[in-house]
Amino acid sequence: MGMGTRKWLALVLVLALVIVPLVGCAAPEETDTEETVTEEPKEPYRIGAVLSLTGTYAGLGAPEKNTLDMEVARINADGGVDGHPIEIVYEDDATDAAKAQAAVVRLIEQEGVIAVIGATGTGGTMAMRADIERAQVPQVSVAGGTVITSTFSKWVFQTPWSNSLVVPFTLDYLKDKGIKKIALITDTGGFGADGLAVLQAQAAKAGMTIVASETFNPGDTDMTAQLTKIKASDAEAVVLWSAGKEAAIVAKNMQQLNMQIPLFGSHGNARTEFIEGAGAAAEGFKFAAGKILIPETYGEDTLSYTVATDFKERYTAAYGKGPDTFAGHAYDALYIITNAIGDLDEGFTPSDLRDQIEKTDSFVGIGGVFTYSAENHNGLDASDLVMYEVKDGKWVLAE
């Protein structure tokens, strides 16, 4: 082997090292924050964000980061909060709970953040708890697991609708349609397992019988076998709880097996990629989610509508596609924190910030209208949800 090969290798390596960061950052970084600050800037407020920018939940972490980038630039362009610019310190947890825990330690110990947004996933969010409580820094999670707020911590808040909110809403809808026997198909990941537990706990309360319960693993490519089993049961509807791309496969396999009973999903399926992936099989798919998908559902004369359409327009202009629900969760988390900071006097501590976040009252966000209390750190209720249906490849309001 001559030097030629070595040089080639070195060149490729160098190219890779140069190109990767360029490609990775090229898209959203147009917003420089410094230019409009007129007076001498005060010290920035540093907020940590632990997001899944790689790994299974990369499709969720990306819109979350997009949103934080965009909104922080906007806040700072308006002069920051009480004259202090906001600075977000990002950490990528690679959809790995252990990395989320390490990231939060770094944010608290080395970066000195006053609050933490994240993690993207329920597993990561829960893994951070011990360090959050030890350091006494408020955390606003953008993950949907029920456990995040049902296993209560004084320091942890949550912006998405939790499964304990969405499951009863969905079951009530099914009951109204006269459905009494349901089959469940859930993934074995955090979101699916959390949903399954809540479904099993709530079904009887809603007068439902679970006649079949099947699972699949993230990464599985075919659910025909599970659905064949469900087809042989006397279920009147299938309820699917999964936030991954496997959801589209379930819809397609059902169509393939010519199953006539309706399929219900969850807010985890509120992504255009689901409709693209399932194609014609997505028609008639119903799921409960917040109102951002169709801002008109807020009611056109409401403040929520104004906030959501404004956000939707700006996000679409910046990133070339509309915001999904995950973008909304990040929006809500950021403004819940910055609003609380704005209500505090200079020199507050993270503990003061926590107290102030808990006093959040009727904050009009994207996910709904938030009111936290000493007992409720989720802050949303069923009135923030609507049932959607896929029709002609688009979301419409279900009847």
Binding site: L9, V20, T54, G55, Q226
Partner: protein, 292 residues
């Protein structure tokens, strides 16, 4: 359980099984000429889907997009062998295997950065409702998968048995030194088998995309299942790899039918372990006798 229902489980098993089989063939190809396990095989599967989607979105017709996806992936396979593996080809199998693991990580991360994190899909090759056959529903795309598997295994068997290049590959698998002494350009054989394995993986990845969508992270699962299938059937033999894939798919599907979907992967894994225990050479593979 009615016979139609049972047959539906078998169809489901063979559908997954065909995917595993196509990936397993890639493992077998590289093993056949180098004696190493290429852990980047799953990423070739991923690249086939992601790149075809990329070309399709550029406006190429489906057939051309698929072809371009396969050719680009084959190019990646060739480049990977030439730039990453060949410089260390005398370092021993373990080093090479670890290089393939590193290569898979690089391919995966680069894809994530270049093409983004979201899943994407391709249209079905021949769109239409699934075909009903004696109370069993069969997707049209599944027929494509089976067809591709049959064509791939026939082509590979022909390549191994009937062509000069195939004999050269087999010679390489026995001993690189001896093959070189016989005038075989072993470096070229190894490089071409990587290119072929990449093309095969890409073909599988893009044929599955209309059913399952694709994304930068689908390679790991595909690689794991394909590897298990290749081991189950017997490494180095194309027919054995395909049988390994189909058996693995069937095992998973029947575990769902008769036991529980929660344990299907565990059951498939246990069977794999039992087979390895009783027949280390795989279900079909012949034990390799070391001659002194």
């Amino acid at each position: 359980m009615g016979s139609a229902e049972l047959l539906q489980y078998v169809v489901a098993g063979f559908k997954s099984g065909a995917i595993y089989a196509l990936v397993a063939l890639g493992f077998t190809l590289v093993y056949g000429s180098t004696g190493i396990i290429n852990f980047a095989q799953g990423e070739f599967f991923m690249l086939g889907g992601v790149l075809s989607v990329f070309y399709y979105r550029l406006g190429l017709p489906l057939l051309l997009a698929a072809l371009a996806g396969v050719v680009t992936t084959a190019g990646v396979g060739l480049a990977f062998e030439r730039l990453a593996l060949r410089p260390r080809r005398d370092a021993g199998a373990l080093v090479l295997i670890i290089i393939t693991i590193g290569g898979s990580m690089v391919m995966k991360s680069l894809t994530r950065h270049i093409f983004g994190p979201d899943e994407a899909t391709l249209p079905e090759f021949t769109p239409g409702p699934s075909i009903a056959f004696g109370g069993v529903a069969i997707e049209r795309q599944a027929l494509w998968l089976w067809g591709l598997t049959i064509v791939a295994v026939l082509a590979l068997t022909w390549l191994y048995r009937k062509t000069r290049f195939g004999r050269a590959m087999r010679a390489c698998s026995l001993s690189h030194d001896a093959a070189r002494l016989m005038g075989i350009d072993t470096a070229r054989v190894v490089m071409v088998s990587f290119g072929l394995a990449a093309a095969l993986g890409a073909l599988a990845g893009l044929a599955v995309t209309p059913l399952t969508q694709t994304a930068w992270d689908v390679g790991a699962t595909a690689g794991m299942k394909g590897f298990a299938a290749a081991i189950l059937g017997g490494l180095g033999n194309p027919v054995a790899s395909v049988i390994g894939g189909l058996v693995l798919g069937l095992l998973e599907s029947l575990s769902v039918a008769f036991l529980s979907s929660t344990y299907k992967d565990a059951i498939a894994l246990i069977v794999l372990l039992i087979v390895l225990f009783l027949r280390p050479q795989g279900l079909i593979g012949r034990a390799r006798r070391e001659k002194v």
